[in-house]
């Protein structure tokens, strides 16, 4: 009889410890997964959305084609020259 009581106490103690350990583990803070982030690179290929954004941007430009000379580029055959102006633009 005494022996069975002794084993019963041991059993209850072990079970209690098991319950306690389970509760502690459940309440312990979960270990977070580590994620690494990479900044977008200029070398990355464009996504479809980026491509679309770029196309929209080009279309949104104040398109000035109508203001380009309607006759197109004028071409002058020139072998003459002029005296230099005070302010000049030149190859630098």
């Amino acid at each position: 009889m005494k022996k069975s009581i002794k084993w019963g106490v041991i059993g209850i103690t072990v079970a209690s410890f098991g319950v306690f350990a389970t509760v502690v583990q459940q309440n312990a803070p979960q270990k977070k997964e580590t994620k690494s982030y990479r900044l977008p690179s200029l070398a990355d290929p464009l996504t479809e959305k980026e491509k679309q954004d770029r196309e929209n941007w080009v279309e949104s430009l104040d398109w000035q084609e109508g203001n380009w000379d309607v006759n197109g580029t004028q071409v002058f055959q020139t072998n003459g020259s002029m005296s230099p102006a005070n302010n000049r633009t030149q190859v630098s």
């Binding site: 900044l39 102006a85 302010n87 633009t89 190859v91």
Partner: protein
């Protein structure tokens, strides 16, 4: 009264009583920061920096680099500042006044940026490159100078950075003849615009039996050959004018027209080709008040 000083391998003329010290300081800073021919400046530091390590740079250099990368994307990498190695390979490895001609192997170009802008003045190199802003740096400085003068309330001024001209108010500007010294090929009258000229005449040299110049197609890293001797462009900013003029000197005429019309329609241009023909086009009505071509 014209105020004149030397900076960035060019003579800078400033037609303004106000802002003279500020403008001179700006050009000197640009020279110290971004000249390819100095070994002790920020540009050299970036060129030597290791790959895949963040680099902290000045705001001026960051803005310049960001602007250059925008231009590179817009021109499909025909023009970008990462061609320093190719320039050295072509023999343009010192300032032009010191050049004697050194021939080396040609190099590859870029079709994507070898540097990432991380923001807040941080960048990271992803491929080795040699920065060379060339005339782009001068155009950038001329635009900054114009901005400084406008902030100081100046209503009429001209900044002429060795031929790259930025204007506040209306001015008459001569376009230098590409082959005749001290002669002009056209006279234009413009207001609040910028005018820039690129060409092969002045900065070209002979190596062996071939003529070399400093125009490199950024996509291939090879010297461009397209028949244009000189291109002058009028646009809203000097950077834009400089870039468009370079496009006309690098791409074939039809390619250049296509790209300029699609991406840079706000301009007027004068392109002088080897056959003594001057092509005038673009938005000439809005960008030029008056223009005359030498007969």
């Amino acid at each position: 009264m014209m105020y004149t000083f030397r900076a960035m391998n060019s003579t800078i003329h400033l037609d303004s009583e106000k802002g003279q010290e500020d403008i001179q300081r700006l050009f000197r800073t640009m020279e110290q920061c971004a000249s390819r021919f100095r070994m002790d400046n920020e540009l050299a530091y970036i060129n030597r920096a290791a790959l895949y390590r963040p680099i902290y740079i000045s705001k001026l250099m960051y803005d310049l680099l960001a602007c250059a990368i925008d231009v590179a994307k817009k021109t499909d990498f025909v023009i970008h500042p990462f061609v320093g190695k190719a320039m050295c390979a072509l023999g343009y490895d010192r300032s032009f006044s010191e050049k004697s001609g050194v021939s080396k192997q040609e190099t590859e170009g870029f079709t994507q940026s070898p540097v990432e802008l991380l923001g807040e003045r941080w960048i990271i190199k992803t491929k080795p490159f040699q920065l060379d802003f060339g005339g782009f740096g001068k155009g950038f400085a001329a635009d900054k100078a114009k901005h400084i003068l406008q902030q100081q309330g100046v209503s009429k001024a001209m900044v002429n950075a060795g031929g790259d001209v930025s204007l506040i108010g209306r001015y008459t500007v001569g376009i230098a003849h590409p082959l005749q010294v001290n002669r002009d090929i056209a006279i234009i009258e413009v207001e609040h615009m910028s005018v820039a000229t690129s060409g092969v005449g002045h900065r070209s040299w002979i190596e062996g039996e071939s003529m070399r110049h400093h125009f490199v197609d950024g996509r291939t890293g090879r010297m461009a050959e397209n028949g244009a001797l000189q291109a002058t462009v009028v646009a809203k900013t000097t950077v834009e004018a400089e870039v468009i003029a370079k496009l006309f000197c690098i791409l074939s005429y039809n390619e250049a027209i296509h790209l300029v019309r699609a991406k840079f329609p706000h301009c007027a241009f004068f392109v002088y080709r080897r056959n003594e023909q001057l092509y005038v086009g673009g938005d000439v009505h809005n960008y030029l008040h008056h223009w005359t071509v030498a007969a």
